[in-house]
Symmetry: C2
Subunit: 202 residues, 2 copies
DNA sequence: GCGTTGCGAAACTCAAGCGTATCGAAATTA
DNA sequence: TAATTTCGATACGCTTGAGTTTCGCAACGC
């Protein structure tokens, strides 16, 4: 009221450490990336890994699930810019993001958790889907619809089925392919194969 | 030596109950099917569900992982007979098995565990793959190669990629599609879409 | 009948981890 | 400086579950 308290009106006392907060999130993601399921993840392990007291965690999140929700939500989906030159190129860009992510532990962890623990932690999944998956699905849908309009794709295309074909084929590779890195041109090959179909007379 | 001990040479004492053994396996599969991860699975829960003492479990398996390995190995993959009339029909049969299984809790559990816990329990996965996955992959591969030879599929087909397209698209649907049953003609639609491709000039 | 082995039930020890409380030190405002 | 709040550390009570042991009874061979 008197002078300026305008912007934040700090509540007095030592402020919360942003560094600690980031360390907690990072530790959580690291542990998940190392193959831990949500249920195996322990607050004590997170605190230890982050070099932080348990108190500091519980002051911010009331339980493990809330923390994991925030940690996964932190993983933003930095959608690559779609050039829009050709639908084929844009689809390759979209699929190649998946390929690249599957090579990183961070990326794998997201899929692992999403695939396996959706049943057990539906609330977690809902938020995560909105944040990380929907934007990508939307981008692919827009691209496919653009292709239908432009004649680059068949006019009677089932867009949902096409999305499943593209993403599903890439996911099948990231999950089940033999160990080691995926070939650099995988996205391109998938897009071409899905466009051409496996039937005769290419 | 003396008379006949030939076939089994029973070791004297009360024989182990086959009924108990089956109940244990069934209870294990049921619990996994209900959405439990391997780590959340408790021997006590299994014993209780099976109506069996913990002793009876530990007399047969030395720990949880051994039990789960045996339980999953029990799930045989009853490959449907392939009529061999047309490659298209056979592919539909193969994919429709996946669709039907995804509607059952038992089927879901297998995929859940396979997808999510492969990193943590590699030994378990190795055995499970050999038993349940490889035969199906082989069946699909044989079918596709037959299609190439007969001219039903394009001569320059990348068989591995085609397998990923077919299985991946179905898996994408079973995992990410909106809740509820999958349409009965999904396998047919996928096979036709994958054969035709999404590009122009069907 | 007798020795052996399996049975389910229950009690036990041990470890991990949750969520809370308490500590002295540090950071910040008034 | 005084009040307030957070910090990391540690200890605590509590629950869960692993794996073991003991119990009385049941099923088998001899």
């Amino acid at each position: 009221m008197t002078i300026q308290e305008s912007t934040t009106a700090r509540p007095a006392g030592r402020p919360r450490s942003e560094k600690a907060e980031k360390a907690i999130i990072e530790a959580t993601l690291d542990l998940i990336a190392e193959g831990m399921g949500v249920s195996e993840l322990s607050i004590e392990a997170i605190a230890s890994r982050a070099g932080v007291g348990k108190t500091t965690i519980y002051r911010r999140w009331s339980n493990k699930e809330d923390l994991v929700v925030d940690a996964l939500a932190t993983l933003k989906a930095p959608l690559p810019p779609l050039l829009g030159e050709s639908v084929r190129d844009d689809l390759i860009v979209l699929l190649d993001v998946m390929r690249k992510e599957s090579g990183q532990a961070r990326g794998r962890c997201v899929m692992n958790v999403a695939m396996s623990e959706a049943d057990r932690y539906p609330r977690l999944m809902e938020r995560f889907m909105k944040r990380a998956v929907e934007p990508r699905k939307l981008a692919m849908r827009v691209t496919l619809e653009r292709g239908v309009a432009s004649g680059e794709l068949r006019p009677d295309l089932d867009v949902d089925l096409a999305m499943a074909m593209l993403s599903g084929t890439m996911m099948h590779n990231t999950k089940w392919a033999p160990a080691g890195d995926l070939p650099a041109d995988l996205a391109e090959r998938i897009v071409d194969a899905v466009m051409a179909g496996i039937g005769p007379q290419g």
